[in-house]
Structure formats: C-alpha cells, structure tokens
Subunit: 214 residues, 4 copies
DNA sequence: CGTTAACCGAGACGGTACGTCTGGTCTTGCT
DNA sequence: AGCAAGACCAGACGTACCGTCTCGGTTAACG
C-alpha cells in the first residue's frame, strides 16, 4: 500500500490506535490519481496535477510516495474501480463465463478501460508497481478459488484436480482478452467469451485423451 | 511513417526509384532507439538520448517523426529483433508449441524481454504506436496462416475449419504467456508451454461434445 | 535585543532576577546559531539546522523569534564572540593601532570572520538587526571614549578636542578595514594597520594647516 | 560577464563575427534583476521572479548564469546605476571630495541606496558575487587613477608618490561612508565629506612628520 | 561537373514537470 | 494546559526534456 510506511508501532498498553498510514487526504489523492489517469493516460498523469486536483501540496505526495509509479500503485490497490464480484452461477462454465465477462467489461467500458490499459503500461515501467500487480493478481486468484471448490463439490471436477488449474484457465481467458484489446484492438463480444471459455474448459477436462484420435 | 512529407514520387519516365524515406542515418537511429528502450524502458527513452547516441541532431529526429511514439513505432517495424521463424514440425501441436516457445523465448530472454515489455507499456500509452502494434500482429497472424493450412492438409483439421481458429488459439497461447510475464511475473517454462498448447488445442478440437458428460 | 523579549537587564537593586525570557535552551540555540553561521555562512544558516543542532523543535524557535534574522540578532547580541578588549597602551597612536588590530583580527580570523561578514549581510537585510547593529556600535563607541580622555590627559590632544573626533577616526579606520575585506578581499596586515592609523591620526591633528603649503 | 561562455570558435575563413555573449534579452534581464533587488532585497530576489519580470524563461537564465549570485554580479557589472563620473576639479582635494560625494550620493539616494545596501549583503553571502565585487572595485580603482596622475602633474604630489596611495585614501573615505550608513545608520552630509577628505588627505601628505611633535 | 534542393548540425528558446529544500503554520497527542 | 513531534502548505530551487525555431553548411542527384 505504502512503500515506505513506518512500522506499525503497536505500543503495548492503553495506547490509542496510532494513525501511521498515509496522508490525511488519502482518499482525495487516490481519486485524483485515478481520475487523471483515466482522463489523460499514464504520461499525462503528473504528480503536480494530482496535487492540484486533490487540493494537496506536491511535497505531501512526495512525503508518502517516492514516485509516480508508487502513487499510482497505491491508488490502484486502494481502489475498488477494478474490482469485480465473484460469481456463483451453479456451473463451472457459467462461473468462468461470468469472470471473463467481468474482464471483458473492464476492458471495454470506457471509464475502466483507460485505467486498465494504462496500468498495463505502468506495470511495464515501474518495478514496484509490478510488485503490486503481482500481489493484486495473486489476491484475486485466491478469491476466485471457491469457483474451483464448488465445481469439485458439484462433481464437475474430480477431487484430485490440480489446484493450479484455475490459474491456468484464468491466464488463458484473461490473457486472450487483454491481448485482443491491447495489441489487436479488436472488440470483445459475447461470442468471444463463450467460445474462449468453452475451448479452455474442454481442453482442460479432456487433456488425458490423445490428440487426433477421438 | 513521415507525417510531413508529401511524396514527390510521380516522376514520369524512366526515373530510377527515388529514395524519399527517412534520414540518412536511419539505421543508427533505430538501433539507438531500441538500445535505449532496452536499457532504460519507455520512460527513459528520450528523443535527446536517441539523438546523442545515434550521433544525430535532435532536429533531425523531429524532422522525420513527430513524437517519441512514432519514432519507436518506426524502429520496431524496421527491426528484426522481435521477429521469429515460422515452424513446420509436421504436426499442429508441434507447430503451436514452437510458436509459443518463440513467444516465451521473446519474453524471457533478457535482451528481447526488455524491448517487448517496454513496447507493451508503450502501446498502452501511445495511440499511434498502438496502430503499429495492430499492424504488426495482423502481419504476424497472416504469416502464421500456413500452420493452419498444413494442419488441414494433413487431416488434423477438417477443411471447413473456421479460419479464425488460428487467431483464437494464438490469442489464448500468447495471451497467457504475456499475462504471466507482465502481471504475475511468473517464469515461463517448458511445462507451461506443453500444458497450455494441449489445453487450447484439445479444447478447440473437442468443442462439440457437451461438457461434463464424456 | 529581541523584539518580543523583555530585556533581562539585570536590574540593580532588590529585584529578584525573573527569568521570563526565551526558551529553556537559549544558550544551546544561540550557540548552534552562531556555529552554523560560522560554518556555512548566512545562506547556509537555516532554522531547521539550528533546531536540529540545538536539540530543539523548529516550532520552539518560531515561538520565540519570528524569523531567521531575529534569531541571528538575538544570538549576536547574546554573544561575546565579537567583543574585544579596550586597550591602554600609553599613547593615542598605540591605542588606535590596538583597536584597529582587534578589528583586523576579527575580520581575518577564520572563526570570527564568517560571523562578522555574515552579520554585515544580515544587517543589510533585516531592519531590526540593523537597529541592534546601531546600538552595538554606539555602545562600543561609548566604551572607547576613555581612549580619547586619556589622550587629552596625556596632552596628546587639546582639551577642546571635538568629542566626535573619536567616532570620526574609528569610522575611517574600521571602515577601511571592512571595505578591504568585504569588497576588495585584500589581506589585512600589520603594515595596513600602521599606515592607516598614522594617516588618520596625522590628518586629524594637522587639520588647521592649509593643504599643499607645508 | 558570462561564466560559462563557450570558446570563441574562430573558424578559419570568411566566418562572420559570432555572437557569443549572453541571451538575447540581456538588458531586460539585468534591469529586472536590479529592479527586484531594489524592491525586495537579496533574499527576495528570485530567479523565477527575474525570469517572469524580464519576460524570459527560467531555463534561459540558468543557461547563462549558474546561480543567483552570478546573475546579480553580471547585472551589477553591466549596469550604469552604480556608476559615477570621474571628476576633474583642478585640485586633488576637490577630486576626492567629488568622488566621496558620489559615494555618499549613492548611499543616500533612495533608488541607488537600496541596490547598494542590498549588494553589500549579497556580497557577504555569495562567494562568487564577492569575486565580482572585487573585480568591480578593482576596475573602479583603475579608472580613478587619473586623479592621482593629475595631482602629480600639478605638483600637489611628488612624482615618487606610492601608487597604492589612491587605494589607501579611497578605502578610508568610502569605508567610513559605508560603515556609517550600514552600521551606524547615520546620515551623510557635506560636513562629513569635507572633514573626512581633509583628514585623510592631510594625513597622507604629512606622514613623514613624527606624531605629537608639530 | 556544376547546380540546387533537400538535408543536416549547432544551439538558443519558451515551456512543463521533475524531485528537493526550506520557510513558516497548524494539528495532534502525550505529559 | 502546554509543548514535542511532525504533517502540512507555499513557493523557489536547479535540472531534464520537450518541441520549435533560425541560421549556416553539406550532400548528392540531376541536368
């Protein structure tokens, strides 16, 4: 969250909760950061701009975050804009389609697409932001794990299913979506979602069977 | 490529082809551009730096490319650093594995990974660079089409196979690889390649069969 | 002395010495101020630096002195570093030479020169510091008055000598020294002292005689 | 004048005279500098302020002068505000009185006094400005040398007069004036001028005579 | 082979933002 | 209740690049 945050001192005794986390106007700052990112992209996102829009002095920002990347990282982490609900549709395919639909929505909705794409660029440039990204995705994966559990409980998957399967599927699904949007600039539609989920899911389930000899 | 120069082509007669394209030291410029991109990332890539390293005046760069993005686009297009050979292994699965291995190699080899990742960031920031990316990927897809043709000729795929299948597969394969590298920062190994190709390929071939009722 | 600080004048009489003046660590603060002034000059003298070196919070300084100039003024006033002993050599010329030597020493000794020169700049900028300077010099002149009295008593000067003569002489002597150091950056040596005192003194004594007709 | 001026390339051949001396708006810059110095003192003199007032970009100033002190130095040297005419009254005493009157005028006229006093403080604070001051005074002294020459030609001084005499006299005259203004804050009047010049001059002329035995 | 037009180098400039520093103010919580 | 600690605002610092401009000087293709 904050790269240089002092240790949470945790005084023993009657100590009232110590406020060690970030500037007083954190929320305004994060909002301003994402708003600007949304409006002007990563290059147009300047520390001075954030300071002005958040009604905060530039030095305050530098006191808490050493760079634009770190600030953006904190803003992204503290944001719910890129979040999405966890599905429970009653079938594995339905759940996966819902998740991929969320990703597609994220990448195709005007307001979030800019942030997402810009984050992509930001991650590619800022090591510490990359760290945040890794954590973000790991957390996300962990929160998606119930999808797999429920599928096993329903008998759609065998109990000995490789736990890494979910990550594998997600990478293929979300990866395809990202690549189409970022590099091919193709629209993402419902047909894409259905087809991709079906391919990945069938492929995952049918793996033992030798290819080309059905 | 050059925004401000109307081609004075149109010479009637036997005129030998006029070289109207780009500065005299194009090659040095492109090399310098990619070298710097590799060393310092997209943000550290500056027009002034390119000019100095290429032994060229800043003015010259601006004479030919209106922006850093345009310059990088030209450098990427005119480069062979991101190229890769087309495989012909005798089986569809082998071909796909080879292609995915190329992508993985691109993303894991030090010298190319930096360029690729940085380009990723660059695309996310520069609309005109995004255009170049689209063209680059479209071209690449077209050059990969023989893989599909040969698979049909071998009987691995039926003649009425959807021509978009290749793009579909490639998006899943390469997308998974990109996402793992860019966001999850996971290493890409041979096991990843095999597994991903098998999943995608099986899924694509088995699609008609209803899920969960084998 | 200090603009908002009642003088601790040390009243004679029964008054119990009341300590209403300044922070508890006044002495550390003044020392730190002059030390820093000595080390880094007036520009390098910062309130933050003084606070740190004196082991005091910045707020405390601002509670008692409104500005850097005021703080420096107080420090200079409460300091004995620029003081010098009053001479009694037995001759007017000797006394003057001793005084001028003191001034020269003040301006050429490393540790005091910085303070003196910096004070010069400070006076030029701070009206209230200028006031202190005026008082300081007036006081100094008053304390030098015995030099004149003794010279009259010895018969070196006539009893009706203009009392302003001393100030006049001092201004010429010290002024020359200051000007050489501050503006010409010339070294001040014994020859300078002798020569200047002789010139000023002879000039003062010989005034009645018309010029050019010796 | 300019501290970082590139070497005068002096191309062989018909090279037209190269203009290597300072920014195009030098005059505006110097004027703005002195105006601000006059208005707000040395501390209130900021590079940004000069840039704005001169209608010039801040970078331009830094391109030519490395610091505020250097800029002020150049402005002072290139200025006529602190200049003064060289006198030729027909007598040494008259010349000296005129010069001292100039100094007094400089220090007592509202518009110039501010600059002079502020420069005083500036010199005390900035080593490289002190260098400029030295040059300025050396130049001034050189230009005053004719006063001495004419006095010798007139027979007021013997041909073997020590050439350093002039500096000696000037230091005493101007030094006394500066000291009175800066430290004592006394007004400078015609009586001061007459008296000081007479003292210094008599003293200088009468030096051989032993003190106290007229 | 000489002309000439396109190209280039040098470098000053206005401009934006950077990341830092210090001067002063204001809040907060401990003693 | 008062004072420390220190977060904060204001604003200048000096730097790096940006993208533009002017001005000579070089190339090199054509005629």
């Amino acid at each position: 969250m904050n790269a240089q945050q002092p240790p949470p001192v945790s005084r023993v005794g009657s100590a009232p909760v110590k406020r060690t986390s970030g500037p007083r106007k954190s929320q305004e700052i994060f909002d301003a950061t994402l708003d600007l990112l949304q409006d002007k992209g990563y290059e147009g996102l300047t520390v001075e701009g954030v300071a002005e829009r958040a009604g905060v002095n530039k030095t305050t920002l530098y006191r808490w975050w050493p760079s634009k990347g770190a600030l953006l990282g904190a803003a992204l982490v503290n944001s719910t804009r890129l979040g999405f609900p966890l599905p429970d549709t009653g079938s594995l395919q339905g759940d996966l389609e819902t998740v991929l639909n969320s990703v597609v929505a994220l990448l195709t909705t005007q307001s979030t697409a800019n942030i997402a794409i810009a984050s992509l660029g930001a991650v590619a440039q800022s090591p510490e932001l990359a760290l945040h990204a890794r954590n973000f995705f790991a957390d996300r994966l962990a929160r998606e794990q119930p999808i797999l559990d429920r599928a096993i409980a329903r008998g759609e998957l065998t109990p000995d299913t490789d736990p890494a399967l979910l990550m594998h599927l997600m990478d293929m699904l979300a990866g395809a979506a990202w690549l189409r949007v970022a590099f091919r600039q193709l629209p993402l539609d419902a047909e894409f979602v259905t087809r991709t989920v079906r391919t990945a899911l069938h492929g995952a389930l049918e793996q033992p069977r030798p290819l080309g000899h059905p």
